[in-house]
């Protein structure tokens, strides 16, 4: 490196240099103000005193190879000069970012590992521009992505949320809860208040899942769904199924986090199976629902709950998000019952939910 050579020939330089070492072996000197533009290098110098000599060169993260370091230093060299106009900076950035996609990804990676946020933003924007408006096939081709999703997984994105089995499940649960509450009111002081349901969790699980499969509201073929349900319970698939007619992937789609179904495994911690879903409001709602059972319910609150549940059951398909919010805010006012992971307790809570029609 020329800079390194110079350093050897001229012992005393006015500028100070910082030594950097990449994982692919090259060690080089860089002007201090340029190198310090990177937060990571800055920290190494200031906090650990590294980089002052060749033997104490700062080891750069693995994702920064010599080529990328060179690019990054070019970037830093330009931007660390104060007083550049916005126009100048933009112009430089635009020219700088012109490179092939592979290199762009590498640069993003390197910049990220050096915590150089402006450059990460710049490269991320460039990559976003590449992704924008393209079909998945095109994107896969540009970035050499493996096409490793099964056809089912790809088709999970659905158009019809009214077929959401979870929503219908909630619907049913709420209807039942209402009934349950009424019955409990009647039987409040009798021993029959507690229902011992000694079905195993497995049965409950398959009941829920099976029931979803049985619902008449699903427009798509039921058989396929049922079979898939059983078959895919343990796999990474969603509860849903694609509709008969599929829109091309580019149009409106969504995805359900497929890991959720993984949780449909018999386990004591499984409360209503939906507890594990990451969606908070759903969680909160269900917590509220279950928590209610164990609390003493005063009539006013109960009436309110009844109304809520009725409302919910009636309007669920059209505006459940809003409902959830209302219910959530109601639930938040009450103390939330925390579910314990204790086997027995959970089962009991399960049991108290009479899922049998």
């Amino acid at each position: 490196m020329s800079e390194g050579d110079m350093a050897v020939i001229k012992p005393k330089m006015l500028k100070s240099y910082i030594w950097l070492q990449t994982t692919d072996g090259s060690i080089q000197q860089v002007e201090q103000e340029v190198a310090m533009f990177c937060p990571l290098i800055c920290r190494e110098v200031l906090q650990k005193g590294m980089g002052s000599s060749k033997t104490h060169a700062i080891s750069l993260p693995e994702r920064v190879n010599t080529a990328m370091l060179s690019l990054i230093l070019d970037y830093c060299r330009f931007h660390q000069v104060l007083g550049r106009s916005n126009k100048e900076c933009k112009s430089f950035d635009e020219k700088f970012i012109r490179m092939d996609t592979q290199r762009l990804c590498e640069l993003t990676s390197a910049a990220d590992s050096l915590q150089l946020k402006p450059l990460v933003d710049l490269t991320s924007r460039a990559l976003a521009r590449i992704i924008e408006g393209k079909t998945p096939e095109e994107i896969r081709e540009i970035f050499h992505l493996p096409d490793d999703l099964t056809e089912e997984e790809k088709l999970e994105p659905l158009k019809n949320v009214t077929d959401d089995p979870r929503i219908r499940l909630l619907n049913r649960l709420y209807a039942r809860k209402r009934k349950e509450l009424k019955e409990r009111e009647k039987l409040k002081n009798t021993e029959n208040g507690e229902r011992n349901d000694d079905r195993s969790v497995d049965d409950l699980l398959s009941f829920i899942n099976g029931e979803i499969g049985d619902s008449k509201e699903i427009k798509s073929s039921k058989n396929k769904k049922k079979n898939r349900r059983r078959k895919d319970q343990q796999k990474n698939t969603c509860l849903y199924e694609a509709n008969g007619s599929h829109e091309e992937p580019k149009s409106l789609k969504f995805v359900c986090p497929s890991d959720e179904v993984n949780k449909f495994r018999p386990s004591p911690s499984l409360t209503l199976t939906l507890q594990d879903l990451e969606h908070d409001s759903l969680n909160d709602q269900l917590e509220f629902v279950d928590g209610d059972i164990d609390d003493e319910i005063d009539p006013a609150l109960k009436a309110q709950i009844d109304r809520e549940v009725e409302d919910f059951a009636r309007r669920l398909n059209s505006d459940w998000p809003q409902r959830m919010q209302e219910i959530l805010s109601l639930g938040q006012e009450r103390r939330r019952a925390q579910f314990s992971i204790n086997g027995n307790e959970s089962l009991r809570r399960y049991a108290s939910f009479n899922l049998q029609t």
């Binding site: 991320s124 992704i131 998945p136 970035f143 009214t162 789609k253 995805v255 986090p257």
Partner: protein, 468 residues
């Protein structure tokens, strides 16, 4: 540099291995990339790319939904529902919704509620429903949760809406508000502007007056921390309804006003103004004395309110009968002169700006019917700023006419502190030589002054000469 050598080696080595480099980036970076996409649909599309990409979209903190391109309302609604439902529980930083087909406003409330519960910082809503009467769209009421949201810092509203801000605890963190009001159907938007305690940035845009029963809006802006205010207001004055703007913003520094035609706008108590831009467009169809009178009153009030400005850009017809205040702190003045009111305004402003250092003039033709022959009558006393403070003068649209030359001569002769005068002339008459000659013949009040003559900017023709 051995950069090329290195890259050459590398590409050689990896030519066989075509790597999926982008998937090697950490989740946070992939998410960051997706957050730059303009539409959430694009982000969700990536969920089918590969296993790695399946769930990245769910953490993208910014959501942009727009149904303009999508005429199918039902699928749009479902899409938004699904995205919100299947997203993981990370915060939503930005939520933009532009909807003109959703009829069920309750659904929209639900979406907004979700965003608020996810600690939204930037919210942009444009909700219209033209389902009913085309002239009277259904009106969207802003839910109270928007007003009380603690994380909301940037809010954009663009539609006819009903607002009922609570009396306290309103917009606790809102720093930036952008409201676009086109053809308002009710007056409730007025309440928005005095309930933002920490607002620093406000933009009001809109148009008004097309319908006979458009309400007259009285904008009462009262924001103790406001630093920048932009108003873009156009009204069709057919029914002679004039919206009023009353602004109480003691910390205001930047004020930009664009009105067509001018309406009442008054700044009370703004003593720290730095940069002011005023553009008042001419009410073309009204040349009556009454209109003039109205203009005069409004102009006077407006200019009185901005008298503390340090930098002023003023473009207004018909300021002749206004009473100008003294601009004590004004050091830079950019003045667009229309030939309906030319040199009088310049004289008045120079007289009243004792500390003016930079003067920029733009000479424009104007179609308001007055003759374009003007005479420069020098003021009785040379303006004090010209004698000492004024350092640079720049004139655009110079046509070499008699009165313009007179003005230039006057300024040069009396500008004792003048360092530079730049004239941009319209070169259809190839006047370069002539101008040179004339300018050289003037007596210059400042020995160090430089005069530059440029033909219209497109031609980089420049002749510059000094006294010696």
């Amino acid at each position: 540099m051995d950069f090329n050598l290195v890259t050459g080696l590398m590409s050689e080595l990896e030519a066989k291995r075509v790597k999926d480099r982008i998937s090697a980036l950490p989740d946070a970076v992939l998410c960051h990339i997706l957050s730059f996409l303009d539409r959430t649909e694009d982000a969700v599309t990536t969920s089918v790319l590969s296993k790695r990409w399946k769930k990245i979209w769910a953490s993208v903190p910014s959501l942009v939904f727009c149904d303009e391109d999508n005429p199918d309302c039902v699928s749009f609604v479902r899409f938004v529902d699904n995205v919100l439902f299947f997203r993981n529980s990370t915060d939503i930083r930005k939520f933009h919704l532009q909807s003109c087909c959703v009829k069920d406003f309750a659904r929209i409330y639900g979406w907004i509620g979700t965003a608020i519960r996810r600690n939204v910082v930037e919210l942009d809503l444009s909700v219209e429903d033209f389902a009913g009467d085309d002239d009277h769209p259904r009106v969207f009421e802003l839910p109270e949760s928007v007003f009380t949201c603690k994380t909301l810092m940037v809010l954009g509203l663009s539609s006819n809406f009903i607002t009922n801000p609570p009396t306290s605890g309103c917009f606790p963190s809102l720093k930036s508000l952008n409201v676009q009001i086109d053809h308002p159907v009710n007056k409730s938007v007025e309440k928005l502007f005095s309930c933002c305690p920490v607002l620093e940035n406000l933009r009001i845009g809109g148009s008004h007056g097309m319908q006979r029963d458009d309400p007259i809006l009285n904008f009462n802006v009262s924001a103790p921390e406001l630093k920048t205010l932009r108003i873009y207001w156009s009204s069709c004055d057919v029914y002679e309804k004039c919206c009023k703007f009353h602004i109480n913003a003691p910390k205001l520094e930047n004020f930009h006003l664009w009105q067509d035609p001018p309406t009442d706008c008054f700044l009370e108590n703004s003593k720290t103004l730095v940069k002011v831009t005023i553009t008042l467009c001419d009410p073309l169809h009204d040349n009556s004395a009454e209109a003039d009178h109205r203009f005069a009153i409004r102009g006077t009030a407006l200019l009185a309110g901005i008298s503390s400005a340090r930098s002023l850009y003023l473009s207004a017809h018909r300021l002749k009968k206004c009473c100008l205040p003294t601009f004590d702190k004004l050091s830079r003045l950019e003045l667009i002169l229309y030939n309906c009111y030319y040199w009088e305004l310049l004289k008045e402003l120079l007289k009243r700006s004792p500390n003016l250092e930079r003067l920029v003039l733009e000479l424009n033709e104007c179609k308001c019917g007055e003759s374009s022959d003007h005479q420069w009558i020098p003021p009785r006393f040379v303006p004090s700023c010209l004698l000492s403070q004024l350092k640079t003068i720049s004139v655009r649209g110079f046509k070499g006419k008699v009165d313009e030359m007179d003005v230039a001569k006057y300024l040069l002769e009396n500008g004792e502190g003048l360092k530079k005068m730049t004239i941009y002339y319209n070169d259809h008459l190839c006047m370069k030589e002539e101008l040179h000659k004339q300018f050289s013949m003037f007596q210059w009040g400042s020995v160090t002054c430089q005069v530059e003559l440029f033909a219209d900017i497109r031609e980089a023709n420049c002749a510059s000469f000094g006294m010696f």
